[in-house]
């Protein structure tokens, strides 16, 4: 069945259905002239386009859909990546490149890619985006296995992204082959900080101080500080009684209580003079030899 014939059938079917939503009108208008220039007239530059183009470009050049989806959580990007995988026609990319409204673009792209009858059913009830997409995918997909997997994984309104990734993994590994003329991109470094960290060379001894050396250094510093403090602090030698070389004392007046006796003694020529006071309790040990 040729595209021209499918287009006529689809247009006739859509005309017969009474569709009263703006989205459907836009889709119908686009479908009425399913040519790429007409679709591009609807284009307005929005951020969505960049995402779509980026996803499409990566999917096209890397050959692996999961590579895109693993690190992305953007629903729209996933959807367009899935669409790209199931239909590699140029018309799909052209339709997606002129996107303003997500739903309208998707439906237009689906129609341009595969104007089967099932698409009409999906467009006729364009209220739930995800439901429409999943319903439209079987019609747009040239590989029914992908649509089946998507339905099984996502029909129950579970995590859409996880379902898409799970469903796309086997399809991509089996049907999508990496391009041979694509050079792998250089690994993206995570940050400037990581880039500046020097890598240790196993052949060169590390200049970092190991923990044992650090402990030894601290102990040495503590010991040095201890000895310095001891050297600076007043020592017992400093508090020692300093006896002059010459000690000459002359007792001029001397008196004691009636109960005590006093003696003056000099043992050495320049030694100190002793004034011995005997209170009556001094033992003979206090008496000099």
């Amino acid at each position: 069945m040729s595209e021209e014939l499918l287009g006529r059938l689809l247009r006739s079917s859509l005309v017969e259905d009474e569709v009263d939503t703006d989205v459907e009108e836009a889709v119908m208008q686009a479908l009425a002239t399913p040519t790429l220039p007409v679709l591009r007239q609807l284009a307005e530059p929005v951020d969505l386009e960049d995402d779509i183009f980026s996803a499409l470009q990566v999917v096209k050049t890397s050959g692996g859909i999961p590579k895109v989806l693993v690190e992305e959580v953007d629903l729209e990007e996933d959807i367009f990546a899935a669409l790209e995988a199931v239909s590699h026609r140029a018309a799909l990319r052209g339709a997606l490149s002129a996107t303003v409204d997500l739903e309208e673009d998707i439906f237009s792209a689906l129609d341009a890619a595969s104007p089967r009858a099932a698409l009409r059913e999906a467009l006729s009830a364009s209220v739930d985006l995800e439901g429409d997409i999943f319903a439209a995918l079987p019609a747009a997909s040239s590989t029914d296995s992908l649509a089946t997997l998507l339905r099984q994984n996502l029909a129950a309104e579970v995590d859409l992204e996880a379902g898409v990734m799970t469903a796309l993994a086997p399809v991509a590994s089996s049907s999508v082959q990496p391009a041979e003329n694509v050079r792998p991109q250089a690994k993206i470094r995570s940050s400037a900080v990581e880039r500046d960290i020097p890598r240790p060379n196993p052949a060169v001894p590390s200049r970092r101080m190991p923990w044992r050396a650090a402990l030894v250094s601290l102990a040495a510093a503590a010991a040095l500080a201890f000895f310095v403090v001891r050297a600076v602090a007043p020592s017992a030698q400093e508090d020692a009684f300093v006896l002059a070389d010459r000690n000459v004392a002359e007792v001029e007046d001397l008196s004691a209580s009636a109960t005590a006796s006093v003696q003056v003694m000099q043992f050495e020529e320049n030694g100190p003079t002793f004034i011995l006071v005997d209170e009556g309790t001094v033992s003979d040990k206090a008496v000099p030899l």
């Binding site: 970092r208 101080m209 250094s217 510093a221 040095l224 500080a225 310095v228 403090v229 050297a231 600076v232 017992a236 030698q237 508090d239 020692a240 009684f241 300093v242 006896l243 002059a244 010459r246 000690n247 000459v248 004392a249 002359e250 007792v251 001029e252 007046d253 001397l254 008196s255 004691a256 209580s257 005590a260 006093v262 043992f267 050495e268 030694g271 100190p272 003079t273 002793f274 004034i275 011995l276 006071v277 005997d278 209170e279 309790t281 001094v282 003979d284 040990k285 206090a286 008496v287 000099p288 030899l289």
Partner: protein
């Protein structure tokens, strides 16, 4: 790391060196017209219960050997600056007091009056002329199992 460690040590030792520089100044030197003398009284316990000589009393060990006690230990050291005509009172173990009065002083000698008393009254009253930075010792008051020896030095 070595430079950092050395710097840390220098910073840590800096206060210590400043502490070393903050030592007390030397006693009053021989200036013309000496009017003040630093009187230092040490309390030494002569005992048999603890043999040995206190390292701080090493300079007096030769004098102690004339006594029969086995140990000589420093109990306290007291210092007080006194002027001519003024006195300083020191507390001594055994509820005793020693009052030292500077009678006169010149470049060579100082005359000091020493009064020792206990609870019962004055025990000793003497005036001693001592050479500059010289020492004499009052000994005999009973303390515990031994006696007290009171080296007194006039520093100026």
């Amino acid at each position: 790391m070595t430079r950092r460690l050395a710097l840390a040590l220098l910073l840590a030792l800096a206060p210590l060196t400043s502490l070393a520089q903050n030592r007390p100044p030397p006693p009053p030197s021989a200036q013309a017209g000496v009017r003040q003398v630093s009187m230092e009284l040490m309390v030494v316990h002569a005992t048999d219960s603890r043999p040995g000589v206190d390292p701080r009393l090493a300079s007096l060990a030769s004098s102690f050997r004339y006594f029969k006690y086995q140990g000589y230990w420093l109990l306290s050291t007291q210092r007080s600056p006194v002027s001519v005509g003024d006195g300083a009172t020191f507390s001594v173990e055994g509820d005793r007091r020693v009052k030292v009065t500077l009678v006169s002083v010149d470049d060579e000698r100082a005359r000091v009056r020493v009064e020792m008393s206990n609870r019962d009254g004055k025990l000793l009253d003497t005036t001693v002329s001592i050479n500059r930075n010289g020492t004499f010792i009052v000994a005999g008051p009973k303390y515990q199992d031994g006696i007290l020896m009171l080296p007194l030095r006039a520093s100026y």
